[in-house]
Amino acid sequence: MSVLSQESPGKKTLFMGNEAIARGAIEAGVQVCAAYPGNPSSEIIGSLSQVAGELGLYVEWSVNEKVALEVAAAASFAGLRGLTAMKQNGLNVASDFLFNLNLTGSKGGLVVVVCDDPSALSSTNEEDSRPYAKMCDLPLLEPSTVQEAKEMTRWAFDLSEELGLPCLIRSVTRLSHARGNAELGRLPKNRPTPYFDTSCPIVPQPVMVTHKGLHEKIKICQDRFEESAFNFYLGTEKPELLVVTCGVGWMYTLEALADMGVENRAGILKLGTTWPLPESFLTQHLKKASRILFIEEVDPFLENNIKEFCAERAAELGAKIFLGKASGNLPDIGEINPDIVTRAIQQVFEVPYEPRSSQYVQEAAEAVSLFAPIRELGFCAGCPHRATYWSLKNALIMDGRDGIVLGDIGCYTIGVRPAGFEQVKTCHAMGSGAGLANGFGQLERFGLNQPVLTVCGDSTFYHAAIPALVNARYNRSNFLMLILDNSATAMTGFQPHPGTGRTAMGLEAPVVDIEALCKALGVRVQVKDPFDVQDTTETLYDLLQDREGIKVLILKQECALVRVKRLKVLYKVHVDQERCIGQACGCNRRCTRIFKCPGLAWDPVTGKAQIDEAICTGCGVCADICPQSAILKETI
């Protein structure tokens, strides 16, 4: 039984941070949940989808974050509780709606969870989503522990409903993906029936009135935050240093102070409600010390807002020494960790303490290199994208005009790297490849002689590329769009999308046919199997010679991991050791030196290639790559 649906109030249960958020929403009586997957947020809706049937929820994977927020908002407008979750970039997509929703307000509790990815561990950007709360005057909560993640989410629905405003929750990778205990609360018994009161239109007009109303609501919110148990002070009445922290900084600070044995010298002001600031609460604690150190992840959000507040209250609070990102005590980019926090505090107290040897990083790197080979970011064994980029590389070389390949976000972003033969030259937002191609496709009139191409995954196509394609058709742009249709949102964990024929709740769904959709736009469309590299290369070459208008080539082949999960291996592949000539002239390890599928291994002892049967997914493409026909594929 899922931890999300257990009815055992008071029981301490192990949760992943994202599951705790989901459980909090369930305990709050959420009925509609929608999201577009994105690390590190995906498990929130992912885990809710697992219990949707059992708990009678509606859970969907939407095509993008804006639609997801709108789906959740619709529930709210009809009096139900709605949840959406996204990664930091997702909030940018959803923000257009959000900046009207703040004015119109919501009805049923509406919670927007944004999971930031500090250090961009699985993102194209590093972005602190918290300034959005300030920009659109919405309440912002930042949990520090798994228990808090659950409790705050549950409370956020109440707060949202009381204020008539959506409530933002900011998590980060190290909370969303950490595991910890949380005490279960009760599952809700009664759920409201949706009703939309048509006598009360939900519109932001008159804007001057609703904007004023928003400021009044946020004032009420501030009052609630003054009382919130998520904000507290730990320490003596006259500490030498006041550490102001939130999110994962709280645990790191506790650990750092204890490690250095300076718990009695520093006080910790832990904030869980970070916008609007609880001003009275802050005033009370900021008086305690003249040196204030801010510990938070990514941007100096608290740091700047509290500095601003201290300036306002200078007469009352007196002069302060602020330490944090601006002073250089903390890095102004990337994740923080206990070591970073320890060093920051150690600088203040001048305590001789090394969290770990200064040589540690170097020594660890040396130790690792003894056992682990250097690994490039790569495609999985049997990934159709490798075959696609292989053909694309060859077609572009044959074309000889230095074609420009514009990309964006998905597994296929790895096309920038050697694993994709470095074919992709740009990467920005979802669907930006197609958008940029629109522009590049208009530059021939100024003398651009390079053919323009864009690559786009199936999920990205539904997410953001369709408007770009419509624009291209309408404005007579000129480019070749490759839709790398692997029938999966592979990078974020195989969530279903409109092309998969399945919903988040596991129900059958109509397939939104990419080919038919493109054809309806009146553009030239072809569909090929990327595993047939010869055919794909020739098709690409031919399409590149067509200098007029938009061409779409759908390269359809299932994600290798999806295929393997279904135990569907296309071929049994092996290397004929007699025929393989290895490094000799005539081959020079084309398979392991250039094509580099991880399913191929080079045996330096025999000087021959081998198949790593443990990971080969049997796509058979390497058999077509081998100049000696030494790689053999047998139909299973």
Binding site: K393, M398, G400, C585, G586, R590, I594, I625
Partner: protein
């Protein structure tokens, strides 16, 4: 060690636009391909030595050494290279003559060589409907005429030789341009040769060549020039006309002055010293001013034997080449050598370029050409 593989080929030949498109580096590995008449490098190869480099007619070769290797003689005749006889010939069969570029002599000789089993397979140059040349292996005499004619475009004929596949006992004959002949001779002496392929190439028929064109831009130009009509045949008329006659499918003949197509001459032709395929067994070219006849130069014993047996069998007809024509031929050949040497000098590659010649030989060519020119 200095790289003598694809890296060196790329920097020393491909990037300098010196590729002749002979095909000697193709079908040896997966990294090089010919596409629309262009040599394309698909991937990098880091081998220190490679056959692509060794076979290339534009990587370093000592002309005098290779002469010794091929003919066992010093390079003395600087006008036409070593030769036994120079004749004026044509195919006896009007059928062959009609289908051929000039007199059908090459087709007739290769057909004869196959029929008489001098060779078992011939590597010839076939042209696609779009006039793109590529090598083709011919094993039946009646297939020879499928490769008759010329499009004046360089093409990778030797790819077909590399590709085969050949039976172990097969003897092979190849018809090629001077750069292709040079490539084959380099292949024959290369320490990297892996098979005895070149041991089985027993007959090399060389063609006279002053230059060749680059396929893509040339065909694009020509297509526009003939208003998009389908081109059936191309023919260059000798001086004083100097025209490219383009015959289209609607039987229209378009006269294109040669000066119009000169921009499409390959850069590499400017540094070529060989007009008459001096390293072949037998070479064939046109005869200036006498229509329907070819000049044939026999160089090796085999070349001599095939021609005399074909004459005896009535397959070909021969006449002595008029003195005036021989004189012109020698002058033209020398002038090409001189032009190439001067171009190499301009490029700063006279000493360390692709061809190594003694100072004495360079001096002789330059002064003799001057004499002939005056």
């Amino acid at each position: 060690m200095e790289n003598r593989g694809l890296q060196a080929l790329e920097s020393g030949v491909i990037q300098k636009d010196l590729c002749t498109s002979c095909g000697a580096c193709l079908s040896l590995c997966p990294y090089l391909q010919s596409w629309q008449g262009r040599l394309v490098k698909l991937d990098n190869c880091d081998l220190a030595e490679g056959r692509c480099f060794a076979n290339c007619p534009r990587t370093q070769v000592n002309l005098e050494t290779i002469y010794q290797e091929v003919f066992g003689q010093r390079y003395l005749n600087i006008e036409l290279g070593l030769f036994k006889q120079v004749k004026m010939t044509r195919a006896s069969s009007p059928g062959i003559r009609k289908k051929s570029q000039t007199s059908g002599i090459v087709s007739a000789l290769m057909e004869f060589a196959l029929r008489e089993e001098f060779i078992h397979g011939a590597v010839l140059t076939h042209r696609t409907a779009e006039h793109l040349p590529r090598g083709r292996v011919i094993r039946r005499p009646d297939e020879i005429l499928s490769c008759a004619g010329s499009s004046y475009v360089a093409g990778p004929t030797l790819q077909a030789l590399n590709q085969g596949p050949w039976e172990d006992t097969e003897r092979i004959g190849v018809v090629g341009t001077p750069c292709q002949v040079l490539a084959m001779r380099k292949m024959g002496v290369s320490p990297l040769k892996k098979t005895s392929l070149m041991d089985r190439v027993t007959l090399i028929v060389g063609l006279f060549c002053t230059w060749a064109l680059t396929y893509e831009p040339f065909m694009k130009y020509l297509k526009n020039r003939v208003n998009g009509a389908r081109i059936r045949k191309l023919d260059i008329t000798p001086p004083p006309e100097r025209l490219l006659k383009v015959i289209t499918d609607d039987d229209h003949t378009w006269n294109v002055p040669l000066d119009e197509i000169r921009p499409f001459i390959r850069t590499t032709c400017g540094i070529c010293l060989d007009m008459t395929s001096e390293l072949s067994d037998l070479s064939v070219g046109t005869v200036e001013g006498i229509q329907g006849w070819n000049t044939v130069i026999t160089r090796s014993n085999l070349g001599e034997e095939i021609l005399s047996r074909a004459e005896a069998a009535g397959i070909v007809e021969s006449q002595p080449l008029p003195e005036e024509n021989l004189k012109h031929l020698k002058e033209a050949s020398l002038l090409k050598k001189q032009r190439a040497l001067l171009t190499l000098k301009e490029r700063g590659e006279l000493e360390d370029g692709y061809i190594i010649l003694s100072h004495e030989l360079i001096g002789r060519i330059l002064s003799k050409a001057k004499e002939a020119g005056s």
